[in-house]
């Protein structure tokens, strides 16, 4: 089965449509992961994943240990936050987070005590084979694991053993198709055994029979390393596949299409076609959580770009300010430099470096203005060359879509499947007219969301207002009924004893008031 799959892959080298092959700039591929020292102050935002924000559990002055839960998750789509090192909480207030808006979020400021003591309350589960998947899943949640590929989706949600949609294949995503980034690559080279162990845990948890480790062919060392551990494992259902390098192959739906030839339908999840996709970094974190009992307190980040004197891959504690990380790599003056959080294609420009890194921080780039400028030239009219549609991995028509977004024709944009766009930026990259296509799509999506929000609020308000009208009418009716009753009884009384006539004038007065 896997052999045939491999054969198939050999013949069909480009199963997902479109894609580009930009200059990869993987300058840091040979620099081994270095530990980033502890900064003088950690800034830990209470939300580092997609979903609801957490509620702080600590107060100013509290002493915390590394890995101690400092904010608890709220709702289902949420994972807790842990202290990155041992130290003291010195304040809890709003601070900018890595977000394109530059807006802030409640953050817990921790001053390290230098001892870096770990909270050991979570027992290692070395015998995970004998433990019920639901218990392992709870551990993954408690340890705050969110997808480290950049999306930061709470991982435990995907690790569900669901009878209706049983997972047959686990895909380990080691593609890392963004230029510059090498954090997943270094992790595969240096921690291949742990990653494989993590993969086996995932397979146990979802009951999958086989797994594919997908790596692009520009990372031959990682292919070798993973192949070696996969061969030594008893479980021969794990295969390593090397795919031709193409952006955005690392996109979940694109990778699944590349490997299986099957498309995840719009609005559906990979599990609906019996596939689970996990990033290699996340898989290592799952290993740490289960086998070592460590909650998520650090991640690997590629620090690179032409403005960084000493590019490197670093193991950074979550909550370390970007300025401190850049300083470790010899960059201190940010004049004429653009900072990107994430890769150059999908990353977001940060306004200043005084922002902490979080679970979604795959890379920190610093690019000089001269280098980034050609990408931001004047927008010319579309010449209908069609390059954008050719490279779009989801087969959209970006030039028309951009027109609709620019003109606020939101419904029409939605008809052209605006929401299928994965914002990969391939179209903007190839456009000879320098049209910021993805930017238009982000604008269009935001506006559509806004309109939908307003519509649903209006609907609620309408119901509330109608409800109020009904209530007022009912109150009026009730009052009238009461009054009628009082009047009737009084009238019958006054008929019986006419000498009480004087009293009966009182109720009619009340009536006159209304």
């Amino acid at each position: 089965m896997i052999k045939s799959l491999l054969n198939k892959l050999g013949f069909t080298s480009a199963p997902f449509p479109g894609g580009i092959t930009p200059d990869m700039c993987k300058w840091t591929e040979n620099s081994a992961i270095e530990d980033c020292p502890l900064p003088p102050l950690f800034i830990v935002p209470i939300k580092q994943h997609i979903g609801q924000a957490c509620t702080p559990l600590v107060q100013v002055g509290d002493l915390v240990l590394r890995g101690q839960k400092i904010a608890k998750s709220e709702g289902y789509l949420s994972v807790p936050i842990h202290a990155p090192t041992s130290g003291k909480v010195i304040k809890i207030e709003e601070h900018p987070i890595p977000h394109p808006s530059g807006m802030g979020l409640t953050s817990i400021f921790i001053e390290p005590d230098g001892k870096d003591e770990r909270d050991t309350s979570l027992a290692p589960m070395q015998n995970w084979q004998d433990i019920d998947p639901s218990e392992l899943r709870e551990r993954v949640r408690v340890c705050g694991i969110a997808g480290l590929g950049g999306a930061a989706f709470p991982t435990f949600i995907k690790l569900l053993k669901d009878k209706r949609n049983p997972i047959e294949t686990v895909i380990l995503n080691g593609i890392e198709c963004e230029p510059f980034l090498t954090n997943d690559y270094r992790l595969m080279v240096e921690n291949s055994a742990e990653i494989l162990h993590g993969l086996q845990i995932i397979m146990h948890m979802v009951g999958a029979k086989k797994a594919i480790i997908a790596i692009e062919d520009n990372k031959s060392e990682a292919v070798l390393a993973m192949q070696k551990v996969a061969d030594s494992a008893e479980n021969h259902a794990i295969s390593v596949v090397s795919l031709p390098t193409r952006y955005p192959q690392g996109g979940e739906k694109q990778l699944i299409e590349s490997l299986t030839g099957k498309q995840v339908p719009a609005g559906k999840l990979p599990l609906h076609i019996n596939v689970l996709c996990q990033n290699v970094g996340t898989t290592k974190a799952i290993y740490d959580a289960i086998v070592l009992g460590h909650s998520m307190t650090d991640r690997i980040i590629t620090v690179s770009g032409d403005a960084v004197p000493k590019p490197a891959n670093m193991r950074v504690r979550l909550g370390t300010p970007m300025r401190f990380i850049y300083a470790q790599r010899g960059l201190e003056n940010f004049d004429g430099i653009q900072i990107l959080h994430g890769g150059p294609m999908m990353g977001e420009r940060m306004r200043h470096p005084d922002i902490p890194v979080v679970k979604s921080s795959t890379g920190l780039l610093a690019i000089s203005d001269e280098r980034i400028k050609p990408a931001h030239q004047v927008e010319d009219p579309c010449i209908r060359c069609g390059h954008c549609s050719e490279v779009c991995p989801v087969s959209l028509v970006p030039n028309l879509l951009a027109d609709h977004c620019r003109n606020d024709q939101l419904e029409r944009a939605a008809d052209y499947d605006l929401f299928d766009c994965i914002e990969c930026g391939a179209c903007s990259y190839v456009c000879p007219s320098h049209i910021p296509l993805v930017h238009y799509f982000r604008y269009g999506k935001g506006q559509t969301a806004q309109v939908r929000r307003e519509q649903s609020f209006a609907e609620v308000s309408r119901l509330r207002s109608e409800g109020r009208d009904v209530r007022l009418q009912r109150e009026k009716d009730e009052k009238a009924a009461k009054r009628r009753k009082v009047r009737d009884t009084l009238r019958s009384e006054s008929v019986l004893n006419p000498e009480n006539d004087a009293k009966s004038t009182a109720p009619s007065n009340i009536e006159g008031k209304e």
Binding site: M103, V378, R406, D408, P436, H439, A458, S461, R468
Partner: protein, 192 residues
């Protein structure tokens, strides 16, 4: 002559049949209410503020549907609402009466509230809770920002505050390229 008779008769028969079908379908496919005003009402923001000169969104929708009011009187709805109503009615868009203001919600300074319940009576969407002689509070998730509760308050303890901008509700602005801005300016020009 005979042909003429046949032609008249057969046409007459057709007309009769068509008439019967129309009569039946007008009964069978009857639509309750005024569908046009329903559609307009669905486009209005339901702030129920009365700034359009009508005592709420529904009356304004009825007036527009009946041709008694122009399409440009809803202030909170702003340009987008005006354009969609104009589109629905098939009329030319018109400049707005007033600039759209920033979204606000009411806030009761609780220590000053005397619990008179007058604001509750004024609120068109029942967004204020409280009992006589108790503090009153605005459920800001339900408040439409209509300002109707401010005047009735005898001790002036209700403020309209700017709705806090939520991170989750932030959305990307248009790119700042000239072409993108041109389009935006063109749309703005409806205001003048």
């Amino acid at each position: 002559m005979e042909q003429l008779l046949y032609a008249t008769l057969s046409l007459g028969a057709f007309a009769l049949i068509a008439g019967i079908i129309l009569a039946i379908s007008s009964k069978v496919f009857r639509i309750e209410g005024d569908p046009l005003s329903d559609k307009i009402d669905a486009l209005l923001p339901q702030t129920q503020c009365g700034q359009c000169g009508y005592p709420g969104c529904r009356p304004y929708a009825n007036a527009v549907a009946g041709g008694d009011a122009d399409v440009n009187h809803c202030v909170p709805g702003g340009e987008r609402t005006m354009l969609s109503i104009a589109d629905l009615m098939g009329v030319e868009p018109k400049a707005l009466d007033e600039e759209e203001a920033v979204p606000v919600v009411a806030f009761v300074r609780e220590d000053e509230c005397i619990g008179c319940t007058l604001c509750i009576k004024a609120c068109p969407v029942d967004a204020i809770i409280g009992a006589p002689k108790q503090y009153h509070t605005v459920v800001s998730d339900h408040c439409t920002g209509c300002v109707l509760c401010v005047d009735p308050c005898p001790v002036d303890c209700i403020d309209m505050i700017q709705k806090p901008e939520l991170l989750e509700h932030w959305s990307w602005p248009l790119p700042d390229t000239e072409r993108a801005q041109l389009g935006a300016e063109r749309r703005e020009s409806h205001h003048d």
